[in-house]
Amino acid sequence: MNGFLRRLGALTVKELRQISRDPSSIMIGLVLPIILILIFGYGLSLDVKNVPMAVVMEHDTPLVRDLLSGLNGSAYFSPRHASSMHEAEELLRKREVDAILRTGSDFDSRFMKGDAKVQLILHGVDSTTATLIGQYTSALLSLRVQTNLDRQGLSADSGKGTGSAVVQSRMWFNEAADSTWYLVPGLIVIIMTLVGAFLTALIMAREWERGTLEALFVSPVGRTEILLSKIIPYFLLGMAGLLLCLAAARWLFAVPLRGSLTIFLLSSSLYLVVSLGMGLAISSVTRSQFLSCQIALVVSFLPAVILSGFLFDLRSVPLAARIVGNILPATYYMEMLKTLFLAGNNPVILLRDAAALLVYAVLFMGVAIRFTRKNLD
C-alpha cells in the first residue's frame, strides 16, 4: 500500500508539473471556462429585449394611446410610429422592425362593445423570437386593457366587457423569466464536460503516442496508479474551473443558488469524475490524440450542448433525440444543477440523478481500466 501511494504520488506530481508547463491545459481548464461563461452569459440570451416594433394607429385616440403607452415604458419593446401600414410593411421587409402592431380606425367603438381587435404581424424568420414577441405583446396589452376597464368602472365580467377570464401568469423559480438564470447552470455543465472529457481524452493518448507508456509499463507501476494519477490533477483543475464558474454565476449574473452549496459541490465532483472517466475511456481505447479529440467532441461536448436540455426542453424534442438525451450523463447533471440553482434541494430529483451519474462513473472507469492493460498486444 505504501508503494502504491508513493508511486501514485510520483505520477501525480509528474502530471501536475506537466500541466503547469503546458499552457494549453491551463487554457482549457481555467481560461476557457471564463471565456465561455462571458460569451454565453453576455452574448447568448434567449430573452427578447428592445424589440423594434412599428406601431400603426389608423385612428389616433386617447384610448389607443393609453393602451399602447405600455410599450414605451417597457424594456422589451422599442416602438416607433409608422404613418401608414404601407410604410410599416416596408420597415418589416427591411427588417428595421421585427413586428407591426396595428389598431383599426374603429378601435374605440369596438372596444366599448367588447369586440376590439389589434393586429400583430411578426417577422417569422426567427420563430422563437417571434413567439416570444407575440406572448409579450398580448400579455402587455391585456394588462393595459384590464387597468383601463377597471378605471372606467367596467369589469371584465360585467357582461359588457371582454367577456373572458384574464390569465394572470407567474413564473416560479425564475420570476423574471431571465434566460441567464437557466443558461448559466447549463453552461457549467458544458464546461465541466469540456474540461473533463477533453483534457483527459488527450493525455492518455499522448502517452501512447509519445511512447512514454512503454517505459512506464516495465516498472512496478500498476494501471490503477496510472489512471488515478491522470484523474487527480485534472479533477483539481476541473474543480478550480467550476469554482470560477460558480463565482461568475453568483456575482456577475446574480444567479441565485437556492439549493445547498455542499450538494452542488458533491454532485459536481461526481459529474467531473464521470466526465474524466469518459475522456480516459475514449483515450485508452483509441490511443491516438487526434481520434480521441474528435470522438470527445462528438460524443461529449456537442450532445451536451444540444441534447442535454441546455437550450431545449428534452420533452419537446422528437423521441429519438429524447432517447439520446436520456443516455447522456450530461442530461442528469443538467437537471441537478438547474434544480439546485433555481428550485432548491429536491431530494427525489437529486437522488435519482446522482444514482444515474454514479452508474456512469463506474462504467467509464471500468472501460478505462479494461483498456489500459500493461501490454502492447
Binding site: 509528474k14 508539473r17 506537466q18 517505459a215 512506464l216 516498472s219 500493461k374 501490454n375
Partner: protein, 636 residues
C-alpha cells in the same frame, strides 16, 4: 529468496534467482500477430537460454523479431505458443512481478520532454521506490557517468539526441535491475555519444554484474557482448560468443588495396556483383574488404577474380592480404548463406513462415542494377562541374548560431557525405540546401538556383528523402507513386512507364498494392527512395537513410547509390555510420556549426591522426576541435 516455483501447469521450474542461473529461458516461444484477416508471424518457435550475469546481443535484419522478443520478455506481449520464463517466472502469469524486477529501455524511450533531467530521473526513482540516501548516491554516479550533471534543470526536450539517450539510460538504471533490456539504444546517435553510452553500459555491467540483453544494428556493439544471437525472420540463425561466430569466416576474409584511379565503391560493387564468388564486400580504409564463400575461399582467392573473363577489373594477388574476421563478416556470411538455402528450398521456407511476405526482411532480394562498368575518363572530367555551391553560409536561430560560415562545393555525379555529431548543424545545412529553410546570410546555389526562391520547375531537379517516413501511410505503394508523380507534373503515360521502372529498380514489384504504412521499415525506406527518384532528379538529398538498418540492407542500399551516382545523379547524404563515409567521394564533418574537415575519405582519415577507421578519425577530429574550443574559452 525462493528457489523452487511452479508454473501454471504445476510443474516445478528451475527458478534460482541468483545471478548464476538463466535470466531468460524460451521453449518454442512463438508470436503471431492477428489483425482482421491477416496474421503475421513475428517469432516462430524460438528456443533460447540466456545465462545470468552475461551480456547478450540480438542482431538480425529489419523484421527479424528482435523488438518483439524483447517486448515478450518484458511481458508487454504475450507469447501465442510455447513457454517463456524470465527470472524463472512464466511471463504469461507473472508479468507484473517480472516488470518490477527488470529494467527496459524501449527503442523510443518516452522521456517526459517538458520535465527536467532531474524530474525525469526522480520520477523513475520514485516509481522504483529508491530511498533517499541510496538515491542521492546513485544519482551522483549516474549524472557523473552520463555527464549530465550540468544539465539537471534542463527540460529533457531541449537535450540533443545523444544526451536524451543517455538520460533514458540513466532513468532505466535508477536501480540495479536483475535483468536489463536495451532495444537498439544507439539508433540515431552520433559516434561520440554512442561510445559514451557503451562506456556507461560496460561500467555498470562490470560493477554490478548486470545481466543485459541488447538488440542492435551495430556489429561492433554486438562484438562487445559475451553472447550473440543472430535472428532472422523470427527464428534463430546462429548463436554463440563473438569468438565462435567469427570463426565461421576464419581464413575467408581478405582486403585488397584499391587500384589508382578507381573508386573503392566501384571495386566493391564489382565484387558484390559476383554473388557466387563473394559473400560480402565493403570499402574500408583505403582498401576493400571482402569475404569469400567457404567452397571457394579455403584455397585462397578464386582464379575467376584474378583473371576475369569479362570486364577489365580484376584483383591482383599481391594487393590482397588475409585479414582477421570480424563479427560483421560472419553476420553477412550467415545471412547470405540463409538466403542461398532459402532460394534452393523455397517451398520449405513457406511452411516455416506462412506469411512470409510480411516478415521477409527487405535486404534479401538481389540488387537489380546494371552490372558495373568502369567509368571513362570523360566522365571524370564532367564531374568537375559544381552543381552545389555554398559560400559563407550562416544560419542563426535567435542568438544561437546553428551553421557558421560554411563553404563547400559538390560536383556532378559525386557522392557527398555530411557528417557530424547530433546537433552539429547537419540537418540545418541540409534544409537550407533543399530550400526548406532560409539562410541568414551567405551564397547558396543548387543546380544553379537558390531553391528557396527558385521557381517550382527548379525544384523538380532535386529529390529529397527525409529521415522520417513522410509518405501517405494509408495509401498503397502504387497510390503514393501516382500521387507524387502527379505532384512532380509527370504526364500520365510517362508516369506509368516511370513507375514500372522504379518499382523494378527498388524491388517493389509485387508489393504495388501493399498499404505503405503497414510495410516493414526497409520497404518503407525503398519506397521513399523510389518516390524521391520518380522524376529523375539530378541531385538527391538523403537524410540518414540507413539509420537503424542492418548491414545487409545497407549493402543493398549503397550498391544502389553506386549505380545512381554512375548514372550521373549527384548524391548528398547524412549518416551516423562512419564506415559509410568510405563510400563517399568527398565528405564534410561539422560540429557546432563549424566545418572541421572537408575532403576525400583518405584526407579525412589523415587529418584524424591517420586513424585506421573512419569512426576513430571522426572522433579524433571532433574531440580535438572541442578541446581547442574549450581551451580558447578558458583563455578568453
Amino acid at each position: 529468496m525462493t528457489t523452487e516455483r511452479t508454473n501454471a501447469a504445476g510443474q516445478p521450474v528451475h527458478s534460482l534467482t541468483d545471478r548464476t542461473s538463466l535470466v531468460v529461458s524460451a521453449h518454442d516461444a512463438g508470436k503471431i500477430f492477428r489483425e482482421k484477416k491477416t496474421s503475421v508471424t513475428a517469432l516462430c518457435s524460438l528456443s533460447l537460454d540466456v545465462p545470468a550475469g552475461s551480456m547478450t546481443a540480438f542482431v538480425g535484419p529489419d523484421g527479424a523479431g528482435k523488438t518483439t522478443f524483447l517486448r515478450m520478455i518484458c511481458g508487454l506481449l504475450a507469447p501465442t505458443s510455447g513457454t517463456l520464463l524470465v527470472l524463472g517466472l512464466n511471463v504469461a502469469d507473472h508479468a507484473a512481478e517480472i516488470q518490477s524486477r527488470i529494467s527496459y529501455m524501449p527503442q523510443r524511450f518516452g522521456l517526459y520532454e517538458d520535465l527536467s533531467v532531474m524530474e525525469n530521473m526522480n520520477l523513475y526513482a520514485d516509481l522504483h521506490g529508491i530511498p533517499g540516501p541510496a538515491r542521492k548516491e546513485r544519482f551522483a554516479r549516474l549524472l557523473d557517468m552520463t555527464d549530465l550533471a550540468r544539465f539537471t534543470a534542463r527540460p529533457a526536450g531541449k537535450l540533443s539526441g545523444g544526451m536524451k539517450q543517455k538520460l533514458a539510460l540513466a532513468c532505466t538504471l535508477v536501480r540495479s535491475p536483475e535483468l536489463l533490456l536495451l532495444d537498439e539504444p544507439s539508433v540515431g546517435v552520433d559516434p561520440l555519444s554512442r561510445r559514451e553510452l557503451w562506456a556507461i553500459i560496460t561500467k555498470m555491467v562490470q560493477e554490478e554484474h548486470l545481466s543485459v540483453i541488447v538488440s542492435t544494428a551495430y556489429m561492433d556493439e554486438a562484438e562487445r557482448c559475451d553472447n550473440v544471437v543472430v535472428m532472422h525472420e523470427g527464428s534463430i540463425l546462429a548463436q554463440g560468443s563473438p569468438e565462435e561466430l567469427r570463426k565461421l569466416t576464419q581464413g575467408l576474409c581478405h582486403a585488397t588495396s584499391v587500384p589508382v584511379g578507381m573508386k573503392a565503391r566501384h571495386l566493391q560493387a564489382w565484387l558484390l556483383d559476383q554473388p557466387s564468388l563473394i559473400m560480402d564486400a565493403v570499402p574500408e580504409g583505403s582498401h576493400v574488404r571482402f569475404v569469400l564463400p567457404p567452397e571457394h575461399g579455403r584455397n585462397g582467392i578464386p582464379q575467376e577474380l584474378i583473371s576475369p573473363c569479362s570486364g577489365n577489373i580484376h584483383l591482383k594477388v599481391e594487393d590482397c592480404t588475409g585479414v582477421t574476421p570480424r563479427l560483421e563478416d560472419s553476420f553477412m556470411f550467415l545471412l547470405r548463406h540463409r538466403q542461398a538455402s532459402a532460394e534452393s528450398s523455397g517451398a520449405e521456407e513457406k511452411i516455416l513462415s506462412p506469411s512470409q511476405d510480411t516478415t521477409i526482411p527487405d535486404a534479401l532480394p538481389d540488387v537489380k542494377t546494371a552490372p558495373f562498368s568502369p567509368r571513362t575518363e570523360d566522365g571524370q572530367q564532367n564531374s568537375k562541374e559544381a552543381v552545389i555551391e555554398v559560400r559563407d553560409l550562416v544560419r542563426k536561430f535567435g542568438s544561437f548560431t546553428a551553421v557558421a560560415s560554411t563553404s563547400f562545393s559538390v560536383y556532378r555525379g559525386e557522392v557527398f557525405g555530411l557528417l557530424g555529431p547530433n546537433g552539429a548543424g547537419k540537418t540545418t545545412t541540409f534544409r537550407m540546401l533543399c530550400g526548406l529553410l532560409p539562410a541568414t546570410s551567405g551564397y547558396l546555389r543548387v543546380a544553379g538556383e537558390n531553391l528557396r526562391t527558385a521557381a517550382a520547375q527548379a525544384r523538380t531537379r532535386v529529390g529529397y528523402v527525409s529521415q522520417k517516413f513522410s509518405l501517405y501511410g494509408n495509401l498503397s505503394v502504387l497510390e503514393n507513386l501516382h500521387f507524387f508523380g502527379g505532384v512532380y507534373g509527370i504526364g500520365p503515360f510517362a508516369l506509368r512507364r516511370r513507375i514500372r521502372e522504379v518499382l523494378e529498380e527498388f524491388d517493389l514489384t509485387g508489393h504495388e498494392h501493399d498499404i505503405s504504412g503497414a510495410m516493414p521499415g526497409g520497404f518503407k525506406q525503398r519506397l521513399s527512395m523510389a518516390v524521391g527518384m520518380l522524376h529523375k532528379p539530378e541531385i538527391l538529398f538523403l537524410d540518414e537513410p540507413t539509420s537503424g538498418i542492418d548491414p545487409l540492407a545497407r549493402r543493398v542500399f549503397w550498391r544502389r547509390i553506386t549505380t545512381l551516382s554512375d548514372e550521373g545523379t549527384t548524391i548528398i547524404i547524412t549518416t551516423h555510420f562512419m564506415e559509410e563515409a568510405e563510400y563517399c567521394d568527398r565528405m564534410l564533418i561539422q560540429d557546432a556549426g563549424q566545418v572541421l574537415a572537408l575532403g576525400t575519405p583518405d584526407d579525412v582519415r589523415r587529418q584524424g591522426g591517420s586513424a585506421p577507421t573512419m569512426e576513430e578519425a571522426f572522433i579524433h577530429i571532433v574531440e580535438s576541435s572541442r578541446a581547442a574550443r574549450a581551451a580558447a574559452k578558458e583563455g578568453a
